[in-house]
């Protein structure tokens, strides 16, 4: 439920309550006023009739309402003296309506020539049920009209007023760190929105700044680490070449070199990863994926032979994509390398190239990998020391960079499908 309808929902309830209460009060007040006015009329009429009766005694013989609106009846003195003016509602048959209709009746007594008479004066009255019905319908219409107008006002005016808010919301919704986006200022005169906008922009800028400097830091750090590692390896190699080295000393040097090589690989992967994320591979060209895959298969032949793994390529179509050349080979070689490394002896790797996609499927462990974890940095299934845990993270970074969709499939064999048509 959006903000506009949300407020409308509460307004609808509130209005319903207010109008209902108001209707009751209004009805009671109006009826009170009507009775008051009727009773005043009846009182006035009473005086007129009594006056008339003093002048014209024939008036006293009107004992039926008939076409008139009063009747006079002679009564005993005793009952006349007890009588007070009484206004009350009663029902009377109305010829016009062919029904009993409510009337207001004033019962009073007066004295003329020492004789006592009872006078009843009637006045036709509001039909309460009709009044209530009329009132009810007008209020329903009023209610609907108010809701409709609020809805219209909401939609036109409030929508316009809230537009900067929704613009900001849209931008925030589409915002992703590391996608090189910025949040633009929105044009508004509303103070709260201005403050909100300014706060969001400064927050985002601050975050971006930290994010970028962190990325830059990783890149710089990796870059700076490269040379000392390389020099250390070089110096150890020179040391190992010196003839005074003993067998066990040589072994130790070898182990240190191995660790440094591992560190170098790790660092190289990190550097590559941050370069991809820092978008330092901008030149693109049309890459023939079939060609890249065939070339890489060739490159990996010795390694695959050593691991006793057979690589087969099924070309169902020609796959071309615009991207950076090195990243294309890194993307595919990392997947291919994984498929060979995490395979078992006399296993196989099947590569399928089709319209807009390619799949690399390999035999290996019989347990599916956790799809949510495998693309994370430094995630390792095995304790293999040669595995940096960055291979798939790099694949993912490249896929994200170009908007490729990547999927892990498992049906007893492990597969990665890369969809190049985003």
């Amino acid at each position: 439920m959006n903000l506009l309808n949300y407020t409308l929902k509460y307004l609808a309830f509130a209005l319903f309550g207010i109008i209902s209460v108001w209707a009751v009060i209004f009805y009671v007040n109006m009826l009170d006023e009507v009775y008051d006015s009727l009773d005043d009329g009846l009182d006035n009429y009473k005086l007129l009739i009594i006056e008339k009766a003093h002048q014209d005694s024939s008036t006293l013989t009107r004992t039926e309402f008939a076409e008139g609106n009063y009747e006079i009846r002679e009564i005993s003195e005793k009952s006349a003296l007890q009588m007070k003016d009484v206004h009350k509602d009663t029902l009377m048959y109305m010829q016009f309506e062919e029904d009993l209709e409510p009337v207001r009746i004033l019962t009073t007594a007066f004295k003329r020539d020492d004789r006592y008479y009872e006078l009843k004066v009637i006045s036709s009255m509001v039909e309460e049920d009709d009044l209530i019905e009329d009132l009810f319908y007008s209020l329903i219409w009023l209610y609907i009209a108010m809701l409709a107008s609020i809805l219209i006002v909401n939609n036109f005016l409030l929508k316009k007023v809230w537009k900067p808010f929704y613009t900001l919301l849209d931008q925030l919704k589409n915002f992703r760190l590391g996608k090189n986006q910025t949040i633009g200022p929105v044009d508004t005169d509303v103070k709260e929105f201005k403050v909100l906008n300014d706060s969001v922009i400064s927050l985002i800028n601050h975050t971006l700044e930290i994010y970028n400097s962190q990325k830059q830091f990783i890149e710089n750090a990796s870059h700076e680490i490269q040379t000392p590692i390389a020099i250390s390896i070089n110096r150890l190699e020179l040391l190992a070449e010196k003839s005074e080295m003993t067998e066990s000393g040589l072994e130790t040097v070898g182990q240190v070199i191995q660790h440094l090589e591992r560190l170098k690989r790790l660092n190289k992967s990190l550097l590559l990863l941050s370069k991809i994320e820092n978008r330092q591979f901008e030149e693109t060209e049309e890459i023939n994926i079939n060609q890249v895959i065939n070339d890489l298969k060739e490159e990996f032949t010795d390694f695959a032979d050593f691991k006793d793994v057979i690589i087969s390529i099924y070309e169902k179509g020609q796959l071309k994509v615009i991207m950076q050349k090195d990243l294309a080979s890194v993307l595919i070689s990392n997947l291919l390398k994984n498929a060979i490394v995490h395979n078992h002896t006399s296993g196989n790797v099947d590569i399928e190239i089709g319209e807009g996609y390619f799949k690399i499927i390999n035999s290996g462990s019989t347990v599916a990998l956790d799809e949510n974890k495998i693309f994370r940095r430094f995630f390792k299934e095995s304790a293999d020391k040669n595995n940096t845990g960055l291979g798939l993270a790099i694949v993912k970074a490249i896929a994200d960079r170009y908007g490729f969709k990547m999927q892990y499939l498992f049906d007893g064999r492990h597969g990665f499908e890369i969809n190049l048509k985003s």
């Binding site: 490269q226 090589e261 170098k264 032979d305 050593f306």
Partner: protein, 225 residues
Amino acid sequence: MKLLIIEDEQDLREVIQQSLEMEKFLVETAIDYKSALDKIISFDYDCILLDIMLPGGNGLDLLQELKNLDKSENVIIISAKDSLDDKLKGLNLGADDYLTKPFHIAELTARVKSVLRRKSFHGKNIIEAGNVKLDPEERTLFINENPLLLNRKEFDILTYMLVNKNRLVNKTSLAEHVWGDHMDEADDYEFIYSQIKNLRKKLKDNQATVEIHAVYGIGYKLVQG
């Protein structure tokens, strides 16, 4: 053979110098733009290793200077920047090769020797060790004047090992040189061993006077017996 290393980073300069001196080269060094300029104007070198980022100036300007002096052949650029732009500029200014830091010393040695071979043999490019003669351009191998056929990888391994004769060659360096950059992380390069084994057998069967030894945990060494 006289070489000049123009490199401001002391450690790297020392390592290159030591390693090239083990190859019996006469090695001189320059640590900044000005001293480098002095040296290239005053002396002739068989090969110059040139860093691009130098205190006091750009290596590419030195290259331009060398070109003006008509001495720009036999320059290998060593740069920390993996920049295609610099590479193209350098090669256009007459540099022979471009090597991105960090590199394996064995790789550098191979490049230096390749440059020197081209210079000394007037393009005739033959590597000799004992009774082994290898032509990297024609991709032919003769042992005792008898031709021997190797597969592509074996040939590349032998070439690299011959160029780095008597030197310890790190297996990472060998793998990167022969199989390319994508082979890193690949199971500790155990797969290299099977290729080396085949190569050894072929050399032995043909009475070659060179042998490839494994140096535990580090790599391999080609020695002339």
